[in-house]
């Protein structure tokens, strides 16, 4: 009998462990950053947030020593990962890390090359095969051809000249060249990107490279006058690489180029494709049109509040608390709209009265959202005051609305 009970508890415990394991998304991603001629502390965090929002990746980050410091300890084992996201351009990695990287990619690993990562390692031939096209760092005709789209064809142009340039930042249309590729399938064929640096005249080995999408680099904005590739795939050995030239992060607190819905969605889908060769994510319900860019400050479509409310409900200390930021933003933006204000008040009330809502979540709601409470909240606050875990915060809320 005792053994049976023990077994039952044991099995239940295993089930619980499995349950909690399944909560962690299955694909593992590693962001490599730490040196860049761009704002890597910001871009790397945003890349992580974007991948987190896809709900299919568990994301780790490796930050290199600062430029000019000893790199010998910067050893990375890429083998546990399904996809490695490169947000790095700077000092050479130690040989062991370089070898690990080549073994990882040729053995079937996935890679995402993000914006200025294509400026890295001009003198490392294998790396340049992996990224397909690169820019700056002395790249020229010896690095490989220019690649661009002309009359519906991919042109590989060996003419001499520097590799890598860009004009003034502006909004531009991204146009699918391979609309049926899994990364782009189901997305509009033309969409307006938010203000960004449009890389042009990239050049490199361009082996096994396919251009997924391009953008016209207008001479009027200081560009090349060509249709420049902005989304690409490359294969290297058994490895798959997704290369996005988009997403400049300069000194802005909130880089608009990385908040483009088009950038977010293609990055999430490109990372999944690089990791698995497939894309299971559904195309979003809202997307920029050919004429209108779309900025997603939270890297997702927040017009549907259901998943956001669910995140708030399940919040625990240490997990992302972005649901509360989204709600606070919506409340402030729509304060003049009574129906919307009532909708948000109801969301807060429902969360506070639901048994499924975590204590950590209720604490934040009582503390930071009681200022928007209406008369219906008072009895809820009073009843929460009887919960020892929430008494302090309930008293805070009661104090806010006036006894």
């Amino acid at each position: 009998m005792r053994i049976k009970i023990f077994l039952a508890v044991f099995v239940a415990a295993i089930a619980l462990v499995q349950l909690s394991c399944t909560k962690k998304p299955g694909l593992r991603a590693l962001i490599v950053t730490g040196q860049n001629n761009h704002d890597w502390p910001r871009s790397s965090v945003i890349l992580r947030q974007i991948l987190d929002k896809s709900d299919i990746f568990t994301v780790d980050m490796r930050v290199s020593p600062p430029a000019g410091q000893d790199m010998s300890g910067f050893i990375i084992d890429f083998s546990p990962y399904d996809v490695v996201v490169l947000d790095y351009t700077g000092d050479d990695w130690p040989e062991e890390t370089r070898n690990n990287f080549l073994d990882y990619v040729s053995g079937g690993g996935g890679v995402v090359v993000y914006h200025a990562a294509s400026n890295a390692f001009p003198d490392w031939p294998e790396f340049n095969e992996i990224i397909g096209l690169g820019g700056w760092g002395g790249r020229n005709e010896d690095s490989g051809p220019y690649v661009y789209i002309e009359d519906g064809q991919v042109v590989r142009d060996d003419s001499p000249g520097r590799g890598g340039s860009h004009g003034r930042q502006h909004e531009f249309v991204v146009e699918a060249f391979m609309p049926t590729h899994p990364i782009l399938k189901g997305l509009p064929e033309k969409w307006m990107h938010t203000t960004d640096e449009l890389y042009d005249r990239l050049r490199g080995p361009a082996k096994n490279l396919e251009v997924l999408a391009f953008a016209f680099s207008d001479k009027d904005t200081g560009g090349s006058g060509r249709n420049e590739p902005v989304l690409m795939t490359i294969t290297y050995g058994d490895g798959r690489i997704f290369h996005t030239a988009l997403g400049h992060a300069g000194g802005d607190i909130f880089p608009v180029a990385m908040e483009s819905a088009g950038f977010v969605v293609t990055l999430q889908r490109g990372a999944e494709w690089a990791a698995t060769g497939k894309v299971t994510q559904k195309p979003p319900t809202s997307f920029p049109t050919e004429h209108q860019s779309l900025r997603w400050e939270f890297f997702e479509d927040i017009s549907d509040l259901k998943p956001i409310v669910k995140r708030m409900q399940e919040y625990e200390t240490g997990k992302s608390d972005d649901g509360f930021t989204i709600l606070a933003k919506l409340i402030a933006e729509n304060i003049g709209d009574q129906a919307k204000t009532e909708e948000y008040q109801q969301i807060i009330l429902d969360l506070l009265t639901s048994r499924k809502t975590t204590v950590a979540s209720k604490k934040i709601l009582l503390k930071d959202f009681s200022w928007i409470a209406n008369d219906a909240f008072r009895e809820v606050f009073v009843s929460l005051e009887r919960n020892p875990e929430l008494a302090d915060e309930a008293r805070y809320a009661l104090d806010i609305i006036g006894q």
Binding site: Q49, G251, T317, S320, A328, A332
Partner: protein, 415 residues
Amino acid sequence: MGFFPAIIKASALGRDGHMAPSDKINMIAIGVGSMGQSNLHEFLKHSEVQVVAICDVDDNHLAATKKLIDEAYGNNDCRVYKDFREILEKEDADAAMLALPDHWHAIVACSVANKKIDIYGEKPMARSIVESRAILDAVQRNEVIWQTGSWQRSHEHFHKACELVRNGRIGQVDFVEVGLPNGGHYVGNPGVRPLPEGLDWEMWLGPAPAVPFRGVVHWNWRWIDDYSGGQLTDWAGHHIDIAHWGLGLDRSGPVSIEGTGRRNNDGIYNVFAEYDFTCMYENGVKMRVANQAKTQQGMGTYWKGSDGWIHVWRGGLKASDDTILNERIGQNEIRLYKSNNHVANFLQCIRSREETITSAPTAHSAITAGLLGEIAMKTGQKLLWDPKTERFTDNNPHASRLLRRPYRAPWTLPA
């Protein structure tokens, strides 16, 4: 002066309950982290001050600061406390230096003022408008000297800029732009961490909501809404204060406030990272306050008048025409309060019982404008404000709730 330093409370010897000019000023310090230690370095340069005791909730701060003070005096006399109530009970002080996180300002400052101790207090005045008003009232009720750590007023080029604006050298001013630092510090969502040795976390939190320790305490508390309003409230006491001084509005406030801000998407650092709001004053002057990336002029204060403009920041002073900067202010014109040393000004005022260069009313005015901006951004509303009654003229129910911050038991604002 004899061989031994004066250790009798100086005020016991002076007229009107205040110190006689010949005696040392016995000083205590509450809050001796980085800002507090930096202030004490200044006070230690003045031989008329004797720092007798310090208080902090972190043993590491106490040890470092005691070392600093004892080394300066060549003795081992500096007494240490971890509870401000105890230092106030046991020490007989003439003056106090306060450098605490904002959420502690009101309780401690009011307690110190109630003991009739003169105060050098760090900006911003307080975390909420009601708390700031409470400090101002306590200072005035107890007739103590108050100096705010808004030291820019004691620097020549800020003084000069304000005096030129006040005397109409750029004509009638209708617009002022205040550029403050960008926010956006980010640390993500750290989990619960073990408490560092020597830190009394419960006391550090004090009146603020009880939360587990997540690795953020000294210095970086200023990116967390429970304790601070971020760069905006941190710097309101500098460039908003200067804007008000130049406009002659440093004992007044705006009549309407509106604006927008943006926080980090997530994470423990949840103050406004970007902020941009406009205050209208009764005389028609408009003041825009924004993080520097959003402003035309960058950091500092920029007044635009009918005949030109003046821009002042820590790095310099510029005008639409250089001749403006060479203008002299005549005898019969407005002469602004002059101080060349912020700490010395405080010490002089302790003796003279005159108002300091950044007295409590001016500090209250500066932080009130900043906090009203914060409330406008939080609520999304255009706020209508009466600077005399310090209430919203339309009785705005939601915004009114943000004028104060509830305290966690057992803490209350001292009467």
